[in-house]
């Protein structure tokens, strides 16, 4: 059998080369005129925003995307120490400790933040003369029966954020009871943000049946910016007390071949010009306090002073147990 020999030979070659580890530990960049930024698919920076960086450092920024933040981090962990790029964009506080455990990054800093909050369809409530809910507790009241759609926390990052928010608010021993009452009150579980927001939710393009949806504190300005026809105010609003803070980090990947450029790129991402471009391209708030917010954001985006939060270490330690408890309650 000729081809089985070919098969075995090529198998051996590739496995042998996979096992021989490459050790390159130099302080000089391997490709000084290029630096690679790994990011999730939804990373859509303002066009030309990296031109200034290239002009200043001589290095081009190559943006490489692959999957959502979960896929991105899982992939990077599988080959930690031998990364695909130099800088990683978009690990959030729900994934941070997983990345730390794998020693994925040599150093990292918060780069932006935003909140995962319940949004509501303003017109739905005014036209029925019903006051929109104002708290997590309200969502379990009979008035708001069969009105809320949320995402599966296992598959979706806003879904996980909302679950963590309820744990932060009700505590590790009481959130289960809250979810039982949400279930009894007809909460809809969508698989991901897209099906919850564009199919179930009544306040955006889908005109679904649910006027309450888990989304972001920055969704209302996006509804204005990307409206079908120019509008003055968004058709949706945010219930502030339901907001769970999501912080995204940027970090240098361990094993990067261009450590110097990586460092320069991270400081560029934290610098005022990039930070000011983020709200309207990525719909997140800048961490740099000197960065000015666009009017659309100051008017319609919500980022409460005291949002719900959880320690990343606690999240990592309990996430699997919380998720399986959540599944037991909902299924």
């Amino acid at each position: 059998m000729k081809y089985s020999r070919v098969l075995i030979a090529s198998l051996l070659v590739v496995i042998a080369s996979a096992c021989s580890s490459s050790s390159s530990n130099t302080s000089i960049d391997a490709t000084p005129n290029e630096v690679t930024l790994l990011a999730y698919d939804a990373f859509t920076p303002q066009e030309g925003i990296f031109d200034a960086f290239t002009a200043a450092t001589g290095a081009k920024v190559k943006v490489v995307t692959g999957g959502d933040s979960g896929v991105l981090v899982s992939k990077a962990i599988l080959t930690a120490g031998n990364p695909e790029g130099d800088v990683l964009w978009g690990i959030d506080n729900t994934l941070l400790s997983r990345a730390q455990k794998a020693e994925l990054l040599t150093n990292y800093e918060p780069v932006d933040y935003g909140d995962i909050c319940v949004n509501y369809d303003k017109q739905w409530f005014t036209s029925r003369n019903i006051a929109p809910p104002t708290s997590l507790e309200d969502l379990a009241l009979p008035t708001y029966k069969n009105l809320l759609t949320v995402q599966d926390p296992v598959a979706s990052s806003p879904g996980l954020g909302f679950l963590l928010g309820t744990i932060a608010h009700f505590g590790a021993d009481n959130w289960q009871g809250y979810w039982k009452s949400l279930k009894a009150n007809g909460v809809r579980i969508a698989s991901d943000w897209t099906s919850a927001y564009t199919i179930d939710f009544s306040g955006s393009s889908g005109k679904g049946k649910y006027p309450l949806v888990v989304s972001y504190g920055s969704s209302p300005p996006a509804e204005v910016l990307y409206a079908e026809k120019p509008i003055e105010t968004p058709p949706t609003a945010v219930i502030e007390s339901t907001c769970f803070r999501q912080t995204e980090y940027v970090g240098a990947l361990r094993g990067s071949r261009n450590p110097n450029n990586a460092k320069k790129l991270i400081s560029y991402l934290l610098d005022i010009s990039f930070q000011e471009s983020m709200p309207l391209s990525l719909f997140v708030f800048p961490v740099n306090e000197k960065a000015k917010l666009p009017v659309l954001f100051t008017k319609f985006a919500v980022a409460p002073e005291n949002p719900l939060t959880l320690d990343p270490v606690d999240i990592e330690k309990n996430r699997d147990a919380w998720l399986s408890t959540w599944r037991d309650i909902i299924l």
């Binding site: 000729k2 198998l11 080369s17 698919d41 859509t44 896929v71 599966d152 099906s195 564009t198 996006a222």
Partner: protein, 510 residues
């Protein structure tokens, strides 16, 4: 019309032809998957997966929904295949285009279309979406075979007094049985490993092994559990293959083959084929129509804003242009077809065992994706971020299907023609070009279309690969639908509708 009565005969028994496909598959499939297995498979994890009640439930659901989906697909697909490969009438090409189009569409588009009509999640929408996707598989694989069955045999049977049902079981079925079993196996595997459709329509309670593998590997970071599940899934699919082989082994038939038959323009019972096609088109097309509708209607009024935005060339909120998205997708599709079709032809013209070439169907996309990342990460094999790896992986995934699409045609080549050309002094190569290639031309065109379709719609293994400035259509659609704002979502549906319209247009000509 030339007509030949003989045993099916394979072109070549030389194994040298197989070197290229075997090397290709070894490097880009066997090695990465073996790597995943060696690194992450633990027997203890496998036995704990087997003893877990919820995971057994997932396996059971995968299995029964796949069986039901397959039966429904055959119920809709086989009569439609009969009508389209026997008769020609106005609109037949369009109907064909509509029926095969969903194959290239991203699951999110079809699922959203189904959801727009059923307005509920659960088993029924899942089954419907699976039928929408898979009728094209039946049509593509059984169609070419059925159109080669000689009419005169049926006429003879009818003249001799056989009822239509008897004519079918005695005359037609033996000719198409192989292709039907082949198609049914593929449909089963597609539904069994369904991922996108399940994610959107299944909610949290309906999961398949494939979606659970993805959840475990990517969401929960449990690569060992994911690998154990992938092994379980591979075992079940292999078992199905074994059973199918037993089925096929039964009567080795003498094929009464002819060139593709002229289609009858005037069906004897004119209404029957029309009704059959109408039902199939209604089932398959209504979710597609819902997508087009959604791209045109906002808040109950018609709006062309999204289409105008598309035709101006820009995609709201994305940093790529429509032109570059379409170009990227087409370049990948053409590259994948250029790799896949020649390799598939080499396999289809030899009598080599097919097991190796069916492997990409057995292994879950997530397992392959993980394997690619952990295998091609060290120089000189640091290919994981290379652009060309994407069409290469598309070709790997398309290979088993394209082989199956070519096989009925290569088997039906009468060897007497080849002998004749050899006797007349043609070299083996010349006679291969003059005889085989010219007979295979329509099948090759279809195979190319199929390979391109798989490439355009693939969203599994390659979602693990990183891309630099190479956003494809399914990714752009998912991105647009994944953002707040009526304009972005509307543009997402318009892009999906554009993909539907182009595909229907292309497919009704190919």
């Amino acid at each position: 019309m030339a007509e030949y009565m003989e045993r099916h005969h394979l072109v070549s028994k030389t194994k040298t032809l197989l070197i290229a496909p075997v090397v290709f598959l070894s490097i880009f499939f066997v090695v990465p998957v073996t790597n995943t297995f060696l690194r992450y498979f633990r027997f203890s994890e496998f036995s704990s997966v087997l003893s877990s009640q919820p995971l057994r439930g997932v396996a059971w659901f995968s299995l029964w929904q796949a069986v039901v989906s397959t039966l429904l697909t055959l119920t809709i697909g086989l009569p439609a295949t009969w009508a389209l490969s026997r008769f020609t009438f106005r609109g037949a090409r369009l109907a064909r285009g509509i029926l095969v189009a969903p194959f290239v569409l991203p699951a999110v588009v079809v699922a959203a279309g189904v959801l727009a009509i059923t307005d509920s999640r659960g088993v029924t929408p899942i089954l419907w979406a699976h039928v929408v996707f898979n009728v094209s598989v039946v049509l593509r694989i059984v169609g070419p075979r059925w159109s080669m069955v000689n009419h005169r045999l049926e006429h003879a049977a009818a003249t001799l007094g056989a009822r239509p049902s008897r004519t079918f079981t005695l005359v037609v079925w033996p000719h198409i049985a192989d292709a039907v079993i082949s198609a049914a196996t593929l449909v089963f595997i597609y539904c069994f490993t369904s991922f996108g459709v399940i994610a959107i329509l299944g909610g949290v309670s309906r999961r398949t092994l494939e979606s659970e593998i993805f959840t475990q590997a990517v969401r929960l970071g449990n690569t060992t559990t994911a690998t154990a599940l992938a092994v379980l899934q591979a075992l079940i699919i292999s078992l199905v293959f074994l059973v199918v082989r037993q089925l096929r082994r039964s009567p080795s038939l003498s094929l009464h083959v002819s060139a593709p038959q002229a289609l009858r323009t005037k069906p004897t019972h004119r209404l029957t084929p029309f009704i059959i096609i109408a039902i199939a088109v209604a089932v398959v097309a209504s979710p597609l129509v819902a997508t087009v509708y959604r791209s045109l209607v906002i808040n109950g009024h018609v709006s062309f804003t999204a289409w105008r935005t598309l035709f101006s060339g820009s995609l709201p909120a994305l940093s790529v242009s429509l032109q570059s998205v379409v170009t990227t997708s087409l370049v990948f599709a053409i590259a994948a077809a250029c790799i896949c079709v020649p390799l598939a032809l080499l396999v289809a013209t030899t009598s080599a065992p097919r097991a190796l070439f069916s492997l990409p169907l057995v292994v879950s996309a997530a397992t392959l994706g993980i394997g690619l990342i952990i295998t091609f990460n060290t120089s000189p094999y640091a290919w994981r971020s290379e652009r060309w790896l994407i069409p290469v992986v598309h070709a790997v995934i398309a290979l088993p299907l394209v082989i199956r699409a070519l096989e009925p045609a290569t088997r039906a080549i009468p060897s007497s023609l080849r002998h004749a050309s050899a006797t007349l002094g043609a070299s083996p190569f010349i006679s291969w070009v003059r005889v085989d290639l010219s007979i295979l031309k329509p099948a090759l065109l279809r195979a190319t279309g199929l390979s391109m379709a798989i490439s355009l719609g693939e969203f599994g293994a390659t979602s693990f690969l990183s891309r630099s400035g190479s956003t494809t259509l399914p990714i752009a659609i998912a991105q647009l639908l994944g953002r707040p704002g009526v304009a972005t979502q509307q543009a997402g549906f318009a892009l999906a509708a554009l993909m539907i319209i182009i595909t229907v247009g292309v497919m009704s000509r190919a």
